[in-house]
């Protein structure tokens, strides 16, 4: 069973999503098509890249992820299709693949990216403003129907990549930053749980707030408390129990977050 997922910034009510499904089914009738998210913030390529990192590893090998967050549609940006480990990507070449690519490389898995410029794999008529339907859905349909990746266009080695900074060691702890703020208002930090193992008791400092320790669950805080915890993707996050951290603590993507070991002096 071939699965194709759709991720866009169109909003859930948009008819264009249906048109994309129709295009895929016309080319690859047996495909199972599923929505990953259509609520990516408009033109927020970074947010979509994070979503792909966090959800694609759970899909069966061979799943094709079509992603249409495409502020450059109609300009000279390339469109690409890629094998990134055991998952596949189709979309614009604007950095959407950054974290899927990093995951695949860390895992020592195969990576191949092609510039899908061959028009025989597009719809006959291509709008200058809706490549999601006319190019990406059509290309995904051909991949789903068994066309080999390298028939879609030439291999490229220089995909556009976004800058997702890695956290830096800092005074025995880590200096990271807010990567995203989710729709519950949780701040997602670029510090992976692996970095925190063996550190012992810590405090988490951001935006003038000092949070004691990393909780295991929301239940360890009281309603209204700001707490730090490891989220379901194994990254550090800052949450407000029964509320929105983004409300309790004005924050934005890129804000610094410091994790420090609790020293003896601190506990005097």
């Amino acid at each position: 069973m071939q699965i194709v997922t759709l991720t866009t910034d169109f909003g859930a009510g948009d008819y264009d999503i249906g048109a994309m499904m129709g295009v895929i089914w016309n080319i690859a009738p047996g495909t199972r098509i599923v929505d990953l998210s259509h609520d990516i913030e408009r033109h927020n390529v970074r947010q979509a890249a994070l979503l792909l990192e966090r959800s694609t590893p759970y899909f069966p090998a061979g799943t094709i992820h079509v992603v249409v967050v495409d502020p450059g549609v109609g300009t000279h940006r390339r469109q690409i299709a890629a094998q990134l480990g055991d998952q596949w990507f189709v979309g614009p070449d604007n950095g959407l693949v950054t974290l899927m690519l990093r995951l695949a490389r860390k895992g020592g898995k195969p990576v191949k990216i092609v510039y899908t410029h061959k028009r025989q794999y597009w719809l006959n008529q291509v709008s200058s403003i809706f490549h999601g339907r006319d190019i990406f859905a059509a290309v995904a349909g051909h991949l789903a129907a068994g066309t080999r990746l390298t028939r879609l266009g030439p291999v490229i080695e220089d995909p556009v990549l976004l800058d997702f900074p890695e956290p830096q060691p800092h005074e025995g702890g880590w200096l990271g930053e807010v990567m995203d703020i989710d729709h519950f208002g949780n701040l997602e930090i670029n510090i992976h749980r692996d970095l925190l193992e063996g550190m012992g008791p810590v405090k988490v400092i951001s935006g003038g707030h000092v949070l004691d320790g990393i909780k295991r669950t929301f239940g360890e805080g009281k309603p209204g408390d700001l707490i730090a915890l490891i989220d379901s993707s194994d990254y550090l996050s800052i949450s407000l129990v029964n509320g929105s951290a983004a409300d309790g603590m004005p924050a934005q993507v890129g804000d610094a977050v410091l994790v420090q070991p609790v020293r003896d002096a601190d506990s005097d």
Copy 2:
């Protein structure tokens, strides 16, 4: 064809829903997965229980309903899977099954509930805050793939149940209450149409409003009228024609609603 439905309070744009689908497909590749609703009010177990009562009876026998409205995730609440008549349930043991269970028992149908604590049916790594993916989706995948219910854990006889009061006879009529307010602002009352049969003309009293009779359709009222009618689930509801009853008449879950026969004295 095995169908699995998903109901959560994640909001429709959340990537976690995709991760749950991926987990299910990895374990049971041929499964058809469909969203029931992801717009349950956050942590509103009661609202999800009502949604299940109203939609699950329309699904083919054997459909598995995965429900993740889980304010107690990471605490000591149990997780369960259940056969409730010809429908199946997977989710936390917090009362979500209350009305599906009541329906099955009223119909004299088989009921079996197990505490799904066997870790071989979970993902290898279990987050303390996202059991929807790591436990419930995995367990549903195994059920969908043919694992017998009783292999998932021991049968329990004491699931957590919510209090959904039954309406009480009152002066020849019925005293009920508002069970829920839907997203059109309609008040849903716990008085079933069966209780009203043979009563003759009635008035419906709630929140200082007295409504004459029970309409058959919205078309019998004028725009702006508050009307009582039998909703599509065969329960009494109060609606504002072309508007939101909740706006026209401040109300909340639990408010009293009285249905009284119209006596001769009333019509003098």
Copy 3:
């Protein structure tokens, strides 16, 4: 593979959509069911008709589109099913089919509409307020399962049609109007790109604004600019670059839009 699409004004979180899916699967178990949109503005039959025109042509032949935007439910409006070219429709007889029908006739394709009043193809119990589940989903299920259209009821020749005015020639250009405002705030105009071919340079006039030329992409304007362009459905639209035209330029459905050739006098 039989595909059924669902379009409603229920809102994406509504449990009723799940009930409709269950009804279809009970009658036609192998069907692939997909949401086109559930965010049609409440009771906006016109908006749904436009959505169908723009998305149904992309679906495989034989796809059945169930549409429940039904302000007249419970009144004497008819319910219909129809073959409109190679696409199929099930829903109320209130004008929803207007543009699908026009497309089929323009293409010289077969058209057949029946009044689906035969109760053996409905659910046994029919609510007076939810025909989407009790009539339309059931009828679509029977069509999906192979029941012939003409067994569902008698052929009719007088479906209700909406008035979608065609643009008028005007001083060497075209006088059209705003057909819809999409959820990005783009104004969709009833002037097809075919009408503009060969006109040379034009200006687009609406609501006191004069826009120079028709852009090929959003990228040809600066953020905050109002621009005219051809949208992904090949109709003229007015958009605000990186914003909402509806905010930058108060407009409503039916507003006049004039496309005029740029004359020598204009460029003096």
